[in-house]
């Protein structure tokens, strides 16, 4: 038994099996969610590469699986990451019944999660680019399900994410060349250029992020939310591999200021667009961009506190985006709205949806008592101690984003419709769970967030 067999090949096989069973919607969803939760529980409980005794049975889960001469390695330090990915996938897939998405979502979603885990596990890690590209290809049918016209968002997503692969592969070659010839300074520049371009496409930095709001607007918001969150989580986490493996990159004078600049541009532009945005689904896209911007700013604070903040941003972001995507899906299904004015009176018509929506929105905006606030506060404080201007720009971006939320809130509260609860019981359970988690992390950050730094256990030089 090996860890890659358990956390990569098993979900891959289950996903393929579920694809053929997809006509049985509820069963498929439950099986996929159970698979994810069992894998997450195993990741949390079972140590890798050491002997586990269950009664008379002794099992050792090896951390390496050799495939065609290359290694898939899921070391003990990766367990927190595995748990995060599979808990996230489990809840997202479970909610798909409530969000009423295409039948393709569950098998392809699980397949995507397994491929992305494989991407993080593969060594040498230049192969990750190929596996992430496969995950992108696999995700497209979820975004453009059968019988539904799809928009430009899917095509732009496909283009921009695909363009990352060549640059990352070339960066891998440059990095290997540096090992053979460390005195050649041109190779360092070359590797940095290739890496910068590759990650710019993966992270969807300015100006390559136009596909995100288009995708959330034109595709099912629940599916778009899953794809955007899953990809950004894995590519952000994957970038730490490079930072951990190459000392010259950690000590680069250009890297951290560049990350800060890119992050600031993303936060300020996303905030500005959000302030004037008239489409609710696009707002979710801007929230995802804003979050990536803050993650890059956290990373720009350097190894140590910066990377620790970077890791702590993952959970609040994932929970808020998942909750928002669900609320948006339910309200779209109920009212079929797209435009800004269509949310008028939503608070009275569907109070649970409206309140959860706003909690998720403002959590991503970093409002107090919500999950996004504690890390955002420390991030802005630390940023201000290094550069007041940068902190002010980040605040301005957040302010723009919050203005967009206040406009939506004003509209939701407007109108004189009678108060009613139109949400079903499963809707309420899922939404309230999301809202509670956001609130609990917000009021008890000391209980939840320090544990998330265990995501960094996989990186010897970043802790």
């Amino acid at each position: 038994m090996s860890a890659p067999l358990l956390w990569i090949l098993l979900p891959l096989v289950v996903a393929v099996a579920l694809f053929f069973l997809r006509a049985r919607g509820a069963l498929v969803t439950i099986l996929a969610a159970i698979t994810c939760f069992v894998l997450a529980a195993l990741a949390l409980l079972v140590p890798v590469a050491s002997l586990v005794e269950i009664g008379p049975i002794k099992i050792e889960i090896a951390d390496t699986l050799v495939v065609l001469g290359r290694r898939l390695v899921l070391a003990n330090g990766m367990r927190s990451f595995l748990a995060l990915i599979y808990i996230m996938a489990g809840f997202w897939l479970l909610g798909s019944r409530v969000a009423q998405v295409s039948r393709l979502f569950v098998p392809f979603g699980l397949l995507m999660a397994a491929l992305l885990v494989a991407a993080v596990a593969v060594q040498p890690f230049l192969y990750a680019a190929l596996l992430i590209q496969m995950a992108v290809l696999v995700s497209a049918p979820m975004l453009a399900p059968p019988g539904t016209p799809f928009g430009q968002g899917v095509l732009r997503y496909l283009i921009f994410q695909s363009l990352a692969m060549p640059f990352i592969l070339l960066a891998g070659w440059s990095l290997a060349s540096i090992e053979g010839n460390p005195s050649n300074q041109a190779l360092y520049t070359q590797a940095q250029v290739f890496l910068a371009l590759g990650f710019a496409f993966w992270w969807a930095v300015f100006p390559f992020y136009t596909w995100i709001p288009l995708l959330t607007e034109q595709s099912h918001p629940y599916v778009a939310g899953f794809v955007v969150t899953m990809l950004s989580t894995v590519t952000l986490f994957f970038s730490l591999n490079y930072l951990d493996a190459f000392a010259w990159l950690r000590s680069s004078e250009q890297l951290f200021p560049a990350l800060r600049l890119v992050g600031l541009i993303m936060v300020s532009t996303a905030g500005a667009w959000a302030a004037f945005q008239r489409n609710q689904a696009r707002l979710m896209g801007y929230a995802a961009i804003l979050e990536t911007g803050f993650a890059l700013m956290a990373l720009s604070l350097g190894v140590g506190q910066g990377v620790s903040l970077f890791a702590q941003l993952f959970v609040p972001r994932i929970v808020a985006l998942a909750t928002w995507a669900l609320a948006l899906s339910i309200s779209q299904r109920q009212a079929g709205f797209r435009g800004f004015q269509d949310v008028r009176g939503l608070l009275r018509r569907s109070p649970v949806v409206a309140v959860t929506w706003m909690l998720a929105y403002f959590s991503l905006g970093g409002l107090p008592l919500l999950a996004g606030f504690p890390v955002r506060l420390v991030l802005l404080e630390t940023l201000a101690s290094q550069s007041t201007g940068a902190a002010l720009w980040a605040l301005a971006g957040s302010l723009g984003y919050l203005i967009g939320g206040l406009r939506a809130l004003a509209l939701m509260a407007a109108g004189d419709d009678p108060w009613q609860v139109r949400e079903s019981i499963p809707h309420i359970i899922m939404l309230v769970t999301g809202a509670l988690v956001l609130f609990l992390i917000g009021v008890l950050p000391g209980l939840f967030l320090p544990g998330t730094t265990s995501l960094l256990d996989a990186f010897l030089h970043l802790r």
Partner: protein
């Protein structure tokens, strides 16, 4: 100039012709033929760095990708909504020629980073350039897929000069086929029965 050099430049000329055909063509049959010929050129330029047995993987994969796309008979999927008619075609041709000039200019500088023969660099850059033009000028799924296949084909020529891993070749082939399959799916998806 050796015979090999002459043949390499001939492959570059073939790639230039096929990528421009893909950019201009409004007929899906011509596009599929151009795609098939394009992979012949890719095969030839990759063969300069790789053994024939491994290079032929590119050719077979490319032809299979063409067959997958062709099987969906995408007659209307190629008809552009933008840059239409003779003026549109002339515009595309002009931009492609500018792209060629850029490729010729950039090949010298790129040689400092990626050591490869000039026709190899030229062929790769022309494909990448014309593929990007295709991606930038269309809103049609088929053209997007053809554009991505063209960009990837150019990249694969470039990458073959620095990496000879069989596994990478295999995975790139899977991606090429996956992209073609996705293209066929995207063309058919709106007309398929909904699965909810």
């Amino acid at each position: 100039m050796t015979l090999m050099d002459v043949l390499s430049y001939a492959a570059f000329a073939l790639l230039l012709g096929t990528s421009i055909t893909l950019l201009l063509s409004q007929n899906w049959r011509w596009s599929i033929i151009a795609l098939a010929l394009q992979y012949l050129g890719v095969f030839w330029l990759v063969m300069i760095s790789w053994p024939v047995g491994l290079s032929v993987v590119k050719l077979v994969t490319g032809w299979m990708a063409g067959a997958l796309i062709g099987a969906s008979q995408p007659a209307e999927e190629l008809q552009d909504r933008t840059f239409t008619g003779i003026p549109g075609m002339l515009f595309r041709l002009a931009v492609a020629l500018i792209g060629l000039i850029l490729a010729v200019t950039a090949a010298g500088r790129l040689n400092e980073w990626i050591p490869a023969a000039r026709p190899v660099l030229l062929g790769a850059l022309v494909l990448i350039g014309n593929g990007l033009l295709q991606l930038g000028m269309t809103t049609r799924p088929l053209r997007v897929v053809l554009g991505l296949l063209t960009v990837f084909a150019g990249f694969e020529i470039l990458y073959s000069t620095v990496e000879q891993s069989v596994l990478v070749a295999g995975l790139l082939s899977i991606i090429t086929l996956g992209l073609a399959l996705l293209g066929s799916y995207l063309m058919a998806a709106p007309e398929m029965e909904a699965e909810e």
